[in-house]
């Protein structure tokens, strides 16, 4: 959204320079979050000498990178006015399907492709129930969350699949590095940057904003809103499929119980990053900042060895504080 406004604002204040850039930055939706995260970073680097090390940064990034891909899908879905509670189960199902296929002799690349296709199919089914039958995303994805988890259990008998025999070139996706940068993070960055660009700049994704902002007005602008919602729902599940495959390559196993409660984390990240639960607004960049914030808090608590009984309380309070501060900053600015 910020991008649409900026040029016009720029025109009225053609004077350039650092001050102008700063002003524009301050007006951006994401600035509040960046400030909060920076504050945390500064505090943490005083609190722990290990915080600002390359290894720690890398480990923190690895911890949120794959979930970040799901956050991208969820953010786009939220913008279109939907929500998906099934992301955790579907991610687990992606691991299980690919794992089972691999164990039954399919080569891992084909297995992954089939698995991602299956997840896409699940998303399409949800999209069908939402757009054709007319049910609410919440209830459809809740049902699918239960069904997909059941399918995971059915496929594995509840036991994790050991996929230690995955070929090294496949494991490379999850465990390898190109230079010093882990492949996982490269994939994550590619997904984030491309979707962020598309969402801000392409006509195709602009329709997602229109649909989420006012579905009726979008229909009255000739947009096939049902198709848009169908596609965003499908995309979200497809990205869960991708995330599941990466997790599988990373951990060398497929866990039927993986990702329980992931949906709340992912939605929280998107919302912290400015996505509206009633649709029509949000950015990938913001949502990823939200993910980073949650992840930095978790890592910091672990690094400081805070008592486990206090961790939840602190985590919840920081979540509440961050959203409040962000809200306050945005209200003042806008």
């Amino acid at each position: 959204m910020a991008m649409t406004i900026t040029p016009a604002e720029g025109k009225r204040q053609p004077a350039g320079g650092l001050v102008d850039l700063l002003k524009r930055l301050l007006r951006m939706r994401e600035t509040g979050l960046i400030l909060i995260i920076l504050t945390l970073f500064v505090l943490m680097s005083f609190a722990s000498p290990y915080f600002l090390t390359w290894v720690n940064m890398r480990a923190m990034a690895m911890a949120f990178a794959v979930e970040g891909i799901v956050v991208v899908g969820m953010t786009i879905l939220l913008i279109s006015g939907g929500i998906d509670l099934s992301v955790g189960s579907v991610t687990a199902l992606a691991m299980v399907i690919a794992g089972l296929l691999f164990l039954s002799g399919v080569d891992p690349w084909t297995a992954s492709a089939i698995s991602i296709a299956a997840c896409t199919g699940i998303g399409a089914m949800m999209g069908f129930f939402v757009t054709r039958v007319g049910l609410h995303h919440f209830i459809v994805s809740l049902a699918v969350m239960v069904i997909a988890r059941g399918a995971c259990l059915l496929g594995t008998g509840g036991r994790p699949l050991g996929l230690f025999t995955l070929p090294p070139e496949f494991k490379f996706i999850g465990q390898g590095s190109i230079g010093v940068i882990p492949v996982v993070i490269l994939i994550f960055l590619t997904v984030v940057v491309s979707f962020d660009f598309m969402l801000r700049r392409t006509t195709m994704f602009r329709k997602v904003f229109y649909t989420g902002s006012n579905e009726k007005a979008a229909a009255y602008s000739g947009i096939r809103t049902k198709k848009v919602v169908f596609l965003t729902t499908t995309l979200c599940s497809a990205l869960c499929g991708v995330a599941g495959i990466i997790y599988m390559a990373r951990f060398g196993s497929a866990q039927p119980t993986f990702g329980i409660g992931m949906e709340l984390n992912v939605i929280a990240a998107a919302v912290i990053g400015g996505a509206s639960l009633s649709g029509g607004s949000g950015t990938i960049f913001g949502a990823i900042l939200g993910t980073i914030l949650l992840s930095v808090v978790s890592s910091s608590l672990a690094l400081l060895d805070v008592s486990v009984y206090w961790q939840d309380i602190i985590r919840g309070s920081i979540l509440l504080a961050a959203v409040s501060i962000d809200h306050y900053l945005n209200k003042r600015r806008g």
């Binding site: 290894v55 480990a59 911890a63 008998g157 230690f164």
Partner: protein
């Protein structure tokens, strides 16, 4: 004459659990079934797929409707089950608990792994491997009693016996491998001299191994329970050792105890049961023991191999 260790036709025993899809129950139920088959009894596996006490109680009460001879029960929480267990026994259905207890109820027996023994074994092994003055950390899963016990018992054993062992990290990861990855990575960061890591379950172990391997740290990992992935890590030497309760024995002994509770007339002990009116087949505590899984014997613990040709339910 015919053995008294034999069922009437149709005599049924039920095994009731929570989170019934959890793979832990599979070998337990196999042991339960093997004992039952040996004695000509029928078995049913029951419970709730949810982690929800009210649902487990409801499923337990529904089991009662069917009037089985006995129920081998894993009560999700001890006290909430007092009333249902006592009611079951009043209505003629005998109850034995396993892996978690309801000590204040009238259940006749309790079969379990000795988590204290596991913790003690783990502590001794850690000291044996890294010496008695090093740094160690634990991951935990607060709220689940057997996991809690494995962690707290190890910590207090270390404090009492090896005061130079320093606990440098204690993180809740709740069986989530990604959370375990994150926590372990942080612990490794904060404690470059970390020598050992004790994890009370296998899900977190998977994430912890990934973090240790990535950091190329030299940390001794020990955990309880197993998954195929941790088995492979044990084979590869990434995990030093796992302790696994003898699940089959738990189920087998569980059945025998339940059967005996349902046939108290077989036995006339030297005590006051007739006067006081309680079931003479009281078995306050049976330890089903645990197995130590290392590189050498890991292959024997592949559940899929074990289950081949068996009826999964």
């Amino acid at each position: 004459g015919e053995s008294k260790f034999q069922c009437e036709p149709g005599e049924t025993y039920i095994m009731n659990v929570m989170v019934s899809a959890h793979p832990y129950w599979v070998p337990v139920y196999q042991g339960f079934k093997q004992a039952a088959e040996a004695m000509g009894c029928e078995t049913v596996f029951s419970g709730t797929p949810d982690y929800d006490i009210t649902k487990q109680i409801a499923s337990f009460e529904q089991d009662l409707v069917k009037q089985p001879a006995g129920i081998l029960l894993h009560p999700m929480q001890s006290d909430p089950f007092i009333e249902p267990i006592d009611r079951a026994i009043e209505s003629g259905v005998e109850v034995v608990t396993f892996a978690a207890d309801s000590p204040n109820s009238k259940r006749t027996g309790y079969i379990t792994s000795d988590n204290l023994a596991e913790a003690k074994f783990a502590a001794e092994e850690i000291v044996k491997q890294i010496g008695d003055s090093g740094e160690y950390a634990v991951l935990e899963n607060p709220g689940q009693s057997n996991h809690d016990l494995r962690v707290t018992a190890l910590i207090s054993y270390m404090e009492e016996n090896y005061p130079n062992m320093k606990l440098v990290g204690r993180q809740a990861t709740n069986q989530d491998s990604n959370a375990a990855y994150r926590a372990t990575a942080s612990i490794l960061q904060a404690n470059p001299n970390l020598g050992a890591l004790w994890i009370p379950e296998a899900g977190s172990a998977e994430g912890a191994v990934a973090a240790v391997l990535e950091a190329e740290a030299d940390v001794l990992i020990m955990h309880a329970d197993i998954t195929p992935t941790t088995l492979e890590h044990i084979k590869a030497g990434n995990i030093h050792m796992a302790l696994n309760p003898n699940q089959g024995m738990q189920g087998f002994m569980g059945f025998v105890a339940t059967f005996m509770a349902a046939h108290p007339d077989m036995f006339d002990p030297f005590n006051d049961y007739k006067v006081s009116g309680y079931n003479p087949m009281q078995i306050p505590f049976v330890d089903n023991g645990f197995a130590v899984i290392t590189k050498e014997n890991a292959a024997s613990f592949d559940l899929n191999t074990y289950m081949e040709g068996r009826d999964p339910s």
